[in-house]
């Protein structure tokens, strides 16, 4: 170990941001690697500063490490400079806490947050010296487990994982590790171990299912045995107050993207926006009590010294009694000089009032997500807010002293027409004109436009993504429209990365060889524009005989088998069908699926 540590130190002299790889942060656990402990690494397939901003990582880290008999360390995807050095010096991927190679752990759990991190997953396994295909792993190799939102359609990753855990793991993961500890004592073989774990609810072992294809389409995932469950139900926490939640989160040295104390107000979202996967897979809404929120906030601030506290959730202003909560928090944290903030503000007067109360300092820009610029399209996606409400909320914000807005929109939404895209330009123009004389000076507007990606377990799961050339065309409408508009700054997501995201979000196991090929061609960090290479991906698809458009642009029919049909997120398919039909009823456009 000492030798590895020294070797690492030497390489760190040559890399950008060496603190990505040193660990040793405040509140990090250092447990001895005793033989009787179950040892897990939580692997986040992106950079340290991204992974350390993820609340799930922090929740799981403490939920496992607070328990005796088990330990969890962390690892993040090394940046390319570090990867090159590790490869040329034969240094295996190591865990931050102990600097031990990943291969010495019992289990590696990948946090699967977005599809564009999949090449990093393969790369990390390879750097760890672990065979990337589950079928090629031996008795001594760690179990490779996936979890997080992408585990709700993990099929493109199926051959690389021993098992997936569906749903929320903060209560289940320690339980599973305890079971693993007991099974380890029995000294049973790897396949028996996986099979025993698969008896637990929420555990999906992809190798127990055989895909059946007909006419180029996936039509079933056949069980390979009678004891294999037909449907896997997600795990979830029932009572947030009694569920584990971080009280002393790790404080990174490097500035993480979100570097602050975070207390989650509630899980799930009652809004039901039809494009939003989180809104569906985290149902139902479960609230944390005001008392528990305040207690946790106090503990976190005392244990970290953070200067900022975020009251997080999918739609924080929906928390009942939020004003009382903020008042009580103010008292509880009096004298600590802690700034509170509410992410995900809704466009309504109530939200502005709260933001006004919380926000100290210069009021540069307030962020909102209208998502669509016409009322018709907002109804289709169920973002029910009228234009009058938008203007009245923005008015309040300007009166409270904000000097600009950041507005998020999506293009390529189902039923979208060119007029809906032009309406984005038009709406921003009208906002600009409306406030021309009101704000002290001109207000600044940033417009950020992403491309809609249909996701599994949402009412839009049957819908195809808008064809790539049409996405580009619509982006050009925006670029042209905003070109002549001073004070408005447009940014947009690269159309090709969104296309790739859709391919994997709707894909099945046939994509696995293309993924492997892309990785071996050098694809990494595909979600980072500066790293993404469409030509390499095209080569990978071509060489593996995959037509990616067949996945991104396919319209599923209601009676088609979906690659995630065996995974149950808690919402019945009938509910999604009903919502899908309602969406089209809102529009004059003809329904897509029949």
């Amino acid at each position: 170990m000492q030798a590895l540590d020294k070797k690492i130190q030497r390489l760190l002299l040559q890399v950008q941001k060496p603190a990505r790889y040193t660990g040793n942060e405040w509140n990090a656990y250092r447990k001895d690697h005793r033989d009787d402990l179950v040892k897990m690494v939580l692997a986040f397939p992106d950079l340290y500063e991204v992974g350390m901003s993820n609340q799930g990582v922090k929740i799981l880290y403490e939920s496992v490490n607070k328990r005796p008999g088990m330990l969890m360390e962390r690892v993040f995807a090394p940046a390319s400079d570090m990867e090159n050095l590790m490869r040329s010096h034969d240094l295996p991927l190591f865990a931050l806490e102990s600097k031990k190679p990943l291969s010495e752990f019992d289990l590696i759990g990948f946090s699967l947050q977005y599809e564009l991190s999949y090449t990093n997953v393969l790369n990390m396994l390879d750097l760890a010296g672990i065979p990337i295909y589950a079928g090629e792993r031996g008795e001594a190799d760690p179990l490779i487990v996936g979890g997080g939102p992408c585990a709700f359609n993990p099929e493109p990753l199926a051959p690389f994982f021993d098992l997936f855990v569906l749903g929320e793991s903060e209560e289940y993961l320690p339980e599973m590790l305890a079971v693993l500890g007991n099974l380890k004592k029995e000294k049973i073989g790897r396949s028996e171990l996986i099979s025993r774990l698969s008896e637990q609810e929420g555990v999906y072992v992809p190798s127990f299912y055989e895909p059946v294809y007909k006419a180029g389409k996936l039509c079933a995932l056949k069980r390979t045995g009678d004891r294999v469950p037909e449907v896997i139900y997600k795990r979830m926490v029932h009572d947030l107050d009694s569920a584990p939640y971080p009280t002393s989160p790790v404080v990174p040295y490097l500035q993480a993207i979100h570097d602050r104390a975070v207390v989650e107000l509630f899980r799930g979202c009652s809004r039901g926006c039809r494009f939003c996967q989180a809104g569906y897979i985290f149902r139902p809404v479960r609230r944390r009590s005001r008392r528990r929120i305040i207690e946790t906030a106090k503990q976190q601030i005392a244990a970290t010294g953070y200067e900022e506290l975020s009251l997080a959730s999918l739609s924080s202003t929906d928390y009942p009694g939020l004003e009382e909560l903020i008042g009580e928090l103010d008292q509880a944290l009096a004298g600590e000089q802690v700034k509170c903030n509410l992410p995900s503000l809704r466009l309504d007067s109530y939200s502005i009032k709260l933001a006004d109360r919380l926000h100290r300092g210069r009021r540069s820009k307030l962020t909102f997500a209208p998502e669509a610029a016409t009322e018709r399209l907002r109804k289709v996606i169920r973002k029910n807010i009228s234009e009058a409400e938008i203007f009245s909320a923005l008015n309040d914000a300007v009166e409270a002293g904000w000097q600009g807005f950041k507005l998020y929109f999506m293009i390529g939404l189902p039923t979208e027409r060119v007029e809906d895209v032009e309406a984005i330009v038009d709406l921003c123009q009208r906002i600009r004109q409306h406030f021309r004389h009101k704000a002290g000076s001109r207000i600044d507007i940033s417009v950020s436009v992403s491309t809609f990606v249909p996701k599994a377990h949402t009412p839009f799961q049957w819908e195809p993504q808008l064809l790539l050339p049409m996405v580009t065309e619509r982006q050009e409408i925006l670029q042209k429209g905003f070109k002549k508009m001073p004070g408005v700054d447009l940014s947009w997501h690269d159309a090709e990365t969104s296309f790739l995201e859709a391919v994997f979000a709707r894909g099945d196991r046939r994509l696995a060889p293309a993924l492997e090929r892309a990785w071996s061609l050098g694809c990494r960090f595909d979600g980072w524009t500066e790293n993404f290479s469409m030509p390499l991906w095209q080569q990978a698809f071509q060489e593996t005989g995959i037509e990616p458009g067949d996945f991104a642009w396919r319209r599923f029919e209601y009676d088609d088998f979906l690659p995630w049909d065996h995974l149950h997120c808690g919402i019945e398919k009938e509910v999604l069908i009903r919502e899908h039909q309602k969406a089209f009823a809102c529009s004059e456009a003809r329904p897509g699926a029949s």
Binding site: L13, K17, L254, R362
Partner: protein
């Protein structure tokens, strides 16, 4: 209100972090410590805390200074124990003392720093003392050492002559083996300066290309200096 200066050392396990990381680390440690901190007035109150000089990444140090304002009287011993409790492995507070409230700020004092750099040969390579000594002689004989400097305001690349910032540089044989130690006294602080890494890069250029000199450098900052009556004095408790 009182003002406390403290001295600290940074060891290997924390040498990989940047100056901004260090600032955050200390500020959060102070916030956890329960000491009676003072914040600036205004919209965005910040902790009244400072470090004497930014420490480059990958450099250890033995005599660094920081200072903080406190709302109530706290003895140096109380201060040291409260802060030490909140510091990670790799940072050690070695002293603290009160200073007058209207003393100039700590960063304004610093005008030079002494570094010790040790070349450690890569496997299969050898550090040849003679080559290094000759290279250093050639380096110091130059009137001008132009290095590129990217100006933040203009994108245009500028060249800066860093030679005047090298006050002194000499090799001293290390006691333990035949390897070398380079001592560099470099200008540092608000009136400009040069990073020890830049000097080492320049030194490498002076090495004759026929010798195999692949090495990495271990850097340590020994002391910080202030200017007093045109002489450099180490920063110390008496300042």
């Amino acid at each position: 209100m009182t003002r406390i200066r403290f001295r600290f050392a940074r060891y290997d396990s924390l040498k990989n972090i940047s100056h901004l990381d260090m600032m955050r680390l200390f500020q959060r440690a102070l916030r956890r410590s329960g000491l009676p901190l003072v914040f600036s007035e205004g919209y965005n109150p910040h902790l009244r805390f400072n470090l004497a000089a930014p420490m480059p990444v990958n450099v250890t140090a033995s005599e660094e200074y920081g200072e903080v304002f406190l709302a109530q009287e706290v003895t140096p011993d109380q201060f040291i124990s409260a802060l030490t409790e909140q510091l990670p492995k790799g940072l050690i507070v070695t002293g603290a003392f009160g200073v007058d409230r209207d003393e100039p700020s700590l960063p304004a004092l610093v005008s030079a720093a002494l570094y010790r750099a040790k070349p450690v040969a890569e496997p299969g390579c050898r550090v040849e003392p003679k080559d290094y000594r000759e290279a250093l002689e050639r380096l110091l004989a130059r009137q001008e050492l132009l290095v590129p400097k990217t100006s933040k305001k203009r994108k245009k690349k500028e060249q800066v002559n860093v030679r005047p910032y090298i006050f002194e540089a000499y090799f001293k044989d290390a006691e333990d083996d035949r390897s070398l130690e380079l001592y560099m006294l470099l200008q540092s602080g608000s009136r400009g300066g040069v990073s020890p890494f830049v000097v080492i890069e320049q030194l490498k250029k002076e090495l004759r290309s026929d010798c195999n000199h692949k090495a990495h450098w271990e850097l340590h900052r020994e002391k910080l200096y202030q200017e007093q009556n045109q002489f450099l004095q180490p920063l110390s408790e008496g300042m």
